[in-house]
């Protein structure tokens, strides 16, 4: 089923009884890299078109499996309304577009949050059996309930409070549609002001993973192949917007910060 179809199915099925526990399902798939798709992704996010996968690219390879898992009735939180609040990616080495990749996705750590319930969708990517990439996407379901967790929650990456911006982005109204086309994330909140309004947003909002990718692309040529990119999404980035990127080198890595005059959208560390 297409991702759009899964969204519709999830929306229709959002009402009614749901499981209270996470399914133990693990979804697996071989994902050959389509170079035309990789090039389109690079264009939309601002990476150079090349053979090495941008650190954030495997997320879009794993994303359809995430949706498949979250759209199922066995998943305790309704897919419509889930908010992506944090994403942590670790690459062990560079991945070449010619490599054969296998993706595994599972859900874990359903836990309480002051505003509802959180869950992690974990994607692991292996090249020829060798684990090369790991992604943890944390989603928040407002108003939902879940048991408290005593597991340590790593602190959120802190913002860069002072100093001039390194770049000003004019993020146009079509950004959400363009990223939807390359990521498959066709959540209506990203596509059009009217569909976004239906979900309570004043305008369409940018995909957090687009903002994360676009910020990372600004560091092209200055990042290590093996790295962890830890991103926290704060306030939604309404489209269109003018936002500022701040970067600061810290040790071998970077702190990143994306915000507009009114709101903080993203804080991240690359280490």
């Amino acid at each position: 089923m297409s991702l759009a179809g899964l969204y519709v199915k999830a929306a229709v099925g959002a009402v009614g009884p749901r499981s209270r526990e996470l399914p133990s399902t693990e979804l697996m798939r071989s994902v050959p890299v389509d170079r035309a798709h990789l090039a389109a992704y690079a264009r939309v996010c601002g990476f150079a078109v090349g053979d090495v996968l941008p650190l954030t690219y495997p997320h879009v390879l794993a994303f359809p499996l995430q949706v498949e898992l979250m759209a199922s009735r066995a998943f305790p939180l309704p897919l419509p309304g889930l908010v992506h609040v944090r994403n942590t990616i670790t690459a062990r080495r560079r991945i070449d577009a010619a490599e054969e990749l296998d993706v595994r996705v599972h859900a874990e750590r359903l836990r309480a949050h002051p505003k509802g319930a959180q869950v992690d969708l974990v994607a692991e990517i292996a090249a020829g059996g060798e684990p090369v990439w790991h992604g943890r996407s944390t989603y928040l379901a407002r108003g939902a309930s879940a048991p408290d967790s005593d597991k340590f929650e790593p602190p959120l990456p802190s913002g860069i409070e002072d100093g001039p911006a390194v770049a000003t982005w004019l993020v146009d109204a079509g950004t959400g549609r363009r990223y939807a086309a390359v990521s498959g994330d066709v959540n209506p909140i990203h596509l059009h002001p009217l569909t976004a309004k239906a979900f309570g947003f004043p305008r369409a909002i940018a995909h957090g993973m687009w903002t994360a990718a676009h910020a990372l692309a600004a560091l092209q040529g200055r990042t290590a192949d093996a790295a962890t990119y830890d991103v926290a999404f704060a306030k939604p980035l309404l489209l269109p917007s003018i936002v500022e990127l701040r970067t600061r080198p810290v040790g071998d890595g970077w702190h990143l910060d994306v915000r507009s005059r009114k709101a903080q959208h993203l804080t991240a560390t690359l280490s």
């Binding site: 389109a40 150079a48 090349g50 092209q220 040529g221 200055r222």
Partner: protein
């Protein structure tokens, strides 16, 4: 000011050249140049390094690609403190960037630098129709509603048709191929010898790939590991079957798609430095830049062919360096068209031409053809305009290094009636 010294050619990197609308159809000049610089940096351990200068260029260039080379450096693993600038001289661009970098090194103004070039025929700039552009400019400058209305009255339906770059000379309206066909006829360059030269180019390039010659000169890109235009099984017999595409109105048309270069996408880069810089960084020196000469002809109103400027440049270069045309171990004559190479050689052998047009007492004479384009040239690799110079400099430097001595001549013809030539000698 320090004494003049010879710049060292340390090595090169290029991506395989792709036929237009092939493997690199989605790649921009910036993408290809960045990938090529990164490949060079990886090969020579230059990640994070601040070099003296990067000079690069493209012939078909979008207006958004202002300072293309600097942008490529900023997106590469080189230090952002490496300065860069663009240069453009049609198909001479790539070699002229090497001249620019080598000269600064020679004068001691920089210790290291990269000469680079890139071109895409797949992602070529398509501009607004010029009539529409003028209307929009007038509209932009209009200060009153009335003036805006007046500007909009200039809109015409036909303005929707964009300006597409043409492979034609602005002043003659003829394509490069048509110009070359006229020169071919003037020098009576036969079909058979053109096809033989083309077949040799493919054969030589294929053999060079097979023996690993390009292993440290080429980095795969977007799935391509060898030049897409290469036909290892090409032969003069097969090429003889192709129909002429240029000079079809001439009495004996000879130029086909097989003995002409196709539109190509690609990029190349060459690392140059002083001997001292190379030693400090434990890098090899393959060859030195001895000298270079650029020339131009009047292809519009004069008697000379569009692509014949190197015919004039080389004698000057030889004279200044006290050399004869036979004093070379390798000749790298860019194969824009097979007929261009052959016409160039014929001109140097012709007593009347050399006396009357070059003002020389004796012709330069013939060359040993077994030393010409020994690992293939543009007919086989393809010819992304600005990337050809870098391909040839790195290739010749490696040939000289392998040869453990000797001297090589580079000759590249360019649109606009220009030509760039250079002498390299093996490092001692």
């Amino acid at each position: 000011m320090p004494n003049v010294r010879k710049a060292a050619v340390i090595g090169g990197n290029r991506i395989p050249f792709a036929r237009a609308n092939g493997a690199y159809a989605t790649a921009s000049n910036l993408d290809m140049l960045t990938a090529t610089l990164d490949g060079l940096a990886a090969r020579f351990g230059l990640a994070g390094a601040t070099l003296g200068e990067v000079v690069g260029g493209a012939v078909l260039k979008h207006s958004r690609d202002r300072d293309l080379t600097r942008e490529a450096v900023l997106g590469s693993t080189l230090s952002p403190r490496t300065p860069a600038y663009d240069l453009q001289q049609a198909c001479g661009t790539g070699l002229q960037t090497a001249v620019a970098v080598a000269n600064k090194i020679a004068l001691g103004q920089i210790e290291s630098g990269i000469a680079a070039g890139v071109d895409t025929a797949s992602d070529a700039p398509v501009a607004l129709n010029d009539g529409l552009r003028r209307v929009l400019m007038e509209l932009n400058g209009a200060k009153t509603p009335l003036a805006r209305l007046k500007a909009l009255r200039g809109l015409r339906p036909g303005q929707i048709v964009p300006e597409i770059p043409r492979n034609a000379e602005p002043r003659t309206g003829l394509s490069m191929g048509e110009h070359a066909a006229i020169t071919a006829q003037e020098w009576q360059v036969g079909r058979e010898e053109q096809d033989e030269l083309a077949a040799a180019s493919h054969r030589n390039l294929a053999a060079a790939y097979d023996r690993g010659f390009f292993d440290d000169l080429v980095t795969p890109y977007l799935g391509l590991t060898r030049d897409a235009n290469l036909r290892p099984d090409s032969s003069a017999e097969k090429l003889a079957k192709l129909k002429p595409v240029f000079g079809k109105d001439l009495e004996h048309p000879t130029m086909t798609a097989g003995n002409s270069t196709p539109l190509t996408d690609g990029a190349s880069a060459v690392l140059l430095g002083s001997d001292e810089w190379a030693a400090q960084n434990r890098l090899p020196v393959l060859a030195h830049v001895v000298d270079a000469q650029t020339a131009a002809v009047d292809h519009v109103h004069g008697r000379d062919g569009l692509l014949t400027a190197p015919v004039y440049a080389v004698p000057v270069l030889l004279e200044r360096n006290g050399l004869t045309l036979q004093d070379f171990d390798f000749y790298e004559i860019h194969e824009a068209f097979a007929s261009t190479v052959l016409a160039t050689l014929k001109a140097w052998e012709d007593p009347a031409f050399t006396k009357e047009r070059l003002g020389l007492d004796a012709p330069l004479g013939a060359i040993d053809r077994s030393r010409l384009n020994v690992v293939g040239s543009s007919l086989a690799t393809g010819h992304p305009f600005a990337a050809t110079g870098g391909r040839i400099v790195a290739t010749l430097a490696k040939l000289l290094h392998e040869n453990k001595g000797g001297r090589g001549l580079i000759s590249i013809c360019a649109a606009g009636g220009q030509g760039v030539t250079m002498i390299l000698e093996a490092a001692a």
